[in-house]
Amino acid sequence: MLRRLLICLGLGAMVLASAHASDVLSIPPIAFKQRTLGNGLQVIGIEDHTSPTVAVQVWYHVGSKDDPAGRSGFAHLFEHLMFKSTKRLKAEQFDRLTEDVGGHNNASTNDDFTNYFEAVPSNHLQRLLWAEAERMANLNVIDENFKSERAVVEEELRQRVLASPYGRLFNAVPKDAYLVHPYKRPGIGSIEELEAASLEDVIAFHSTFYRPDYATLIVSGDFDPAQLDRWVDAYFGPLPKPATPIPHVTAVEPAWDKDRRYSEHGSNVPLPAVVLAWLSPPARDADDVALSVAAALLSNGDSSRLHQALVYRQQIAQRVNFSSDGQADNGLITSFAILASGHKPEEAEQAILAEVKTLATTPIAAAELDKIKTKIVTQALAGRETAEGKAFAVGSAVLLKGDAGTVNSDLVALQAVTADDVQRVLKKYVLDAHRVTIDYTQQADKSGDAPAKGAAK
């Protein structure tokens, strides 16, 4: 779980036009300009004057995979604390600078990165740049705010994991699937490890990872490029590049050498579920695009193969999904099904495997490939309607693929994906690879483990 950052970005790879000239729909590429400041800060501007608003995003290249030992959930907890006080900003002042003037803000923590994003009326851009530079340099959290926000994160954990029927399953997927890579630790953490975190940990984390040479600033929307450069130079330019080295995750998940099976349980599981997982190549691998097409053929839309087979024809699943999560390191290809009542996880497992095998080994009609490309391109367009949507698309390309240009080139690459490509990647990463299977059912004792853990405070 907690894999990709944003659903709208998930299909970072898009097509420019379908194969037939009559259907061609041209999508203008996202026009962006990038530069790097002397202190290492990467700056990307996407000018768009459609609306008098501007999106400001800072993507730090630190994520849950960098959680300190014994502190799972820390990167995410830290994200919350970035909205507390700094040397010159009061706690929650980001809300004053955004919500109070007709904007919005949020932040999210992914395995590979943490992003902070705002959108405001464009006359507030300068203030936001000042404030983002301020919290990059001068975070100053006090103990009282730290403790109350930690309690919030614990409630977030309860809400996502303990009070949601499939929350425990999503939490268990990386834990069960990965052998060595730190992706295996749940990004939301555990109550125990969150409780163990201290204010000293916060200070150390900020000075280690929150620095200009480990961040990408994206500004998208209604701004004047020359003025943007001046403001960025004025507020971010003076921030020092620390001399200390940045710790990087070096663990490499080995290819799995056997199939593994796990059983997980929840206290309120009205319908059983099953997850099948395989290792995916890193997002920057050329196969990522073909895998995204394969996944879409399997589960994007009501006419997709898994939906038609499991939900419509066989009626064994209440819903089914197949996705390939391109990440900085090896991510997961997962298929997830909630069973229809009266059916068992093995039924969905066998049906999913049968459909994947059919897709990988029998001819794929050109019309089906065209269909899915049209579908993906339309979804891409919808995701890029706003300046903020464009910024997310570019940010995701930078953080996951290491290259902002892939936001456009992936569209071209996707256009060129053939049936053979789809079958080749499915064989390589799924049929010929080992898999992890997780069955998820109601635990026998209905009293649950939640109260013992969750309500102790």
Partner: protein, 495 residues
């Protein structure tokens, strides 16, 4: 949504709005790095204009043009929805709308799915209160074909028994999922508490008992009675203008005829509630959090004080910085998010607040909700807070109009209720015109103690005793035993 790709976010993604706090910041005149710079002069927001035209058969066409992206969203709305479900057939409207794309005279269900996906969109049909709809978003060149498909499913759905059985089974499974989650359980209960035996009190998605009772003849009858051009609005938003929309609509819907029989009268939405003024503990054993809510009767969409309600909701709990989240989350760390909800339907509405919290904090959170209700009904909000909340509302409105689906939703919200389309252009002014006293008065009238229902759904063994002590009229029910067809939520004595 259930999926593997849920981001960890600072704020719940469902809560989109914003505002509270002092709104004061230290401003400095120069661009020194030591001080927060001043904002520049504001640029004006351009609000799209919505236009309409009615075809001779009575079908109203509404178009909001925003030609920024080559995308068009189109939806066929009926001005009736789940409120017309017959008393023992909860879910009939939703089931009927959900079956539209499951087979027509020309196309099977898989063929319809195939066609919609090939156009780049997906057809989704469903019924809420006061409306039923089916919609699709496609790139501009595909609009004609998409409209043909839309017209086919709306007008020529066949409702095959096999499809009814399949759809019903899926709805029953959806209900099982909903009934296992504290938040949705609390919402089922809140609807009965506010609307009682009125049409708005029942479950639009049906109940475990009602869905098996629905027969094909019920679906066909409902479709014949309500799916007619004089009960429909065809709404377009995005890269399309009125002339092109009207022309395309004429082709696909021009020969759609209204039946001679008049449109049936809608049943009363607001009924008598035996659960008003009660406190209910709903037990979901083992669940890791409690959903806490407190609800009251509110106002209808056409009420004179609608905008006072919108602003009161924004101050109370319409956003991250609003009072409920400020008190419950930001100050005390008791929840991932607390908010308010102003529901305004054609005939009636509700107003209240809710939060999820660990089971052992549920009673404290109830007290905080009620405290904020009372405060807002007693003292007008300070000027800086009020202007900040209004800015949030206005900003969100602008951002919503930046996407075709958002624009479609705003315009449809006016069209379905027969409100003037230029309301879109007046929204910002109407929000600005609400005074602090009007906010207080609205809160006093709609958040008072009379008729208030308090609902806590969670692992009741951890909070029921304390809740009963604080609110002595408490009743404890088991989620598994709730009878959603009964206005009292308890099985009626005779079968």
């Amino acid at each position: 949504m259930i999926g593997l790709s849920i981001p960890l976010a600072r704020k719940m993604l469902a809560v989109v709005l914003l505002l509270a706090g002092t709104g004061t910041t230290t401003l400095a005149a120069d661009s020194s790095n030591d001080a927060l710079p001043e904002p520049g002069p504001a640029r004006k927001v351009t609000i799209p204009v919505a236009q309409d035209k009615t075809l001779p058969n009575g079908l109203r066409i509404v178009v909001a043009n925003r030609a920024v992206t080559p995308l068009v969203s189109v939806a066929l709305f009926l001005r009736s929805g789940a409120e017309v479900d017959p008393p023992k057939l909860a879910g009939l409207s939703d089931l009927t709308a959900g079956l539209l794309d499951k087979g027509t005279a020309k196309r099977s269900a898989p063929q319809i799915a195939e066609a919609a996906d090939a156009l780049g969109g997906s057809l989704g049909g469903g019924a809420g209160f006061d409306n039923s709809q089916v919609s699709i978003t496609v790139t501009t060149p595909k609009l004609g074909a998409a409209l043909d498909l839309l017209a086919d499913v709306v007008r020529h759905a066949t409702f095959a028994q096999e499809e009814i059985d399949r759809e019903r089974k899926q709805m029953l499974d959806n209900l099982r999922l909903a009934l296992s989650q504290p938040g949705s359980v609390a919402r089922f209960v809140a609807a009965r508490a506010v609307y009682g035996d009125g049409a708005y009190g029942h479950s639009a998605g049906g109940t475990p008992a009602s869905l098996p009772r629905i027969r094909r003849a019920d679906i066909v009858k409902l479709h014949e009675a309500y799916f007619r051009p004089d009960n429909a609005v065809l709404v377009f938003a995005g890269d399309i203008d009125l002339d092109h929309a009207a022309q395309a609509a004429k082709q696909s819907f021009g020969d759609w005829k209204a039946p001679a029989a008049p449109l049936p009268q809608a049943p009363a939405g607001q009924g008598k509630s035996s659960l008003a003024s009660t406190t209910l503990a709903i037990d979901i054993p083992g669940t890791g959090q409690a959903a806490v809510s407190a609800v009251h009767r509110g106002i209808a969409r056409e009420a004179k004080d609608y905008y006072a309600g919108v602003v009161a909701d924004a101050v109370l709990g319409g956003s991250y910085s609003a009072r409920l989240n400020e008190e419950i989350r930001i100050k005390r760390g008791l929840s991932y998010g607390a908010g308010s909800s102003l529901e305004t339907r054609r005939q009636a509405g509700s107003f209240g607040g809710s939060a999820q919290t660990k089971n052992s904090s549920a009673v404290e959170v109830v007290g905080l909700l009620l405290g904020e209700f009372d405060q807002l009904g007693t003292t007008p909000p300070p000027a800086d807070e009020l202007s900040a909340r209004k800015a949030t509302l206005s900003g969100n409105f602008g951002f919503t109009l930046e996407t075709t689906r958002g624009l479609l939703g705003e315009v449809a919200g006016l069209a379905v209720y027969g409100l003037p389309l230029d309301e879109l252009a007046h929204y910002l002014d109407k929000v600005q015109a609400v005074s602090a006293e009007q906010v207080r008065d609205f809160a006093r009238a709609n958040l008072g103690k009379d008729g208030r229902s308090i609902i806590v759904a969670g692992d009741a063994q951890q909070f029921a005793a304390a809740l009963g002590k604080a609110y002595p009229a408490m009743e404890r029910l088991s989620a598994a035993a709730l009878d959603l067809d009964s206005p009292t939520l308890k099985p009626t004595s005779k079968k």
